[in-house]
Symmetry: C2
Subunit: 199 residues, 2 copies
Amino acid sequence: MDPATKHIGILLFENVEELDAVGPYEVLAFWTRTFPSDGWDVLTLSRDGGLNRCAKGLVIDAQASYATMPDLDVLIYPGGQGTRSHLVDESQLEWVRHQRDRVALMASVCTGALVYAAAGLLKDRPATTHWASLKLLAQLDPSIDVREGERFVDDGDVITAAGVSAGIDMALHLVDRLAGTDRARQVKRGIEYEPSPPV
Amino acid sequence: MDPATKHIGILLFENVEELDAVGPYEVLAFWTRTFPSDGWDVLTLSRDGGLNRCAKGLVIDAQASYATMPDLDVLIYPGGQGTRSHLVDESQLEWVRHQRDRVALMASVCTGALVYAAAGLLKDRPATTHWASLKLLAQLDPSIDVREGERFVDDGDVITAAGVSAGIDMALHLVDRLAGTDRARQVKRGIEYEPSPPV
């Protein structure tokens, strides 16, 4: 791989919510593998690498560990029941702060935002999360300007998305930011993202 | 597990498209795990079980093999580059026909419909697939009433969805059919499926 390649890492962990991680993975991997000359790559990572049992039972492999992953340009922190233990896991919160010091753009999906809040990353910032966790987000850091009803909140070097499926919209927005609107539209067309909820 | 439990199987294989499989998995696992008393279960399966490398590089575990899987009530056949070899794999097509004889509802996402067409399942039926494969669908079986621009086509005991992300809409429709509209709306709310494509 070209050493100038920029890396987007999607975090996996025990009880990560499946679509929180795989929705953005699909969008970003479709982009980076269809258009490698854009100079971006996406990978999954976890503390120790290897297999992770997700919240709804699916087992997904992390391609890198904290020790083997490349320096990231973008980190995506998905949500799921597994985030609950992260909120009081000081070593995990320290890792998040360490990433904040190095990674230009920190993004979250769903309750991943709770971990960012617990780590202090959202102080005095606008942010969102899954609708059922909006109150907890405010409790974790009362200085957060909690946004309800927004699909994602782009605050420059931090982007937080609403629940689960909102990660797909947020990831398309990332393609738009990182590679332009035409590219984002090509990806949207590629994954035929013309959603039409039947209920 | 209650022996009366009904089973939905999502097929995995080498080069299956990630979101084709995981979109429906999220919807259906959210439903069946949140409401187990509905009597349904969802599992992933593949020819030999175990790990499958998807089309965009993610590695996902299949919980059962063709030999160990339970009798299915619903089979979902995702798409992806991996379907191309299935079109000329007589043992795979024979397995599909064998499932058709036993499984009440056969569903597909994206180019999974091409495999159903090659197996003869879509003869004289309306069906759809990823927009880029509509012509190939018609070539595989000219008797198919190929539908363009529909998110999914429900023809009773066969449902075919359009490309990649359309599997999410199709899966919500499945919940609606199998457990009612209120349940489908609960699942929709749970995964906060209020899509708002930013481009």
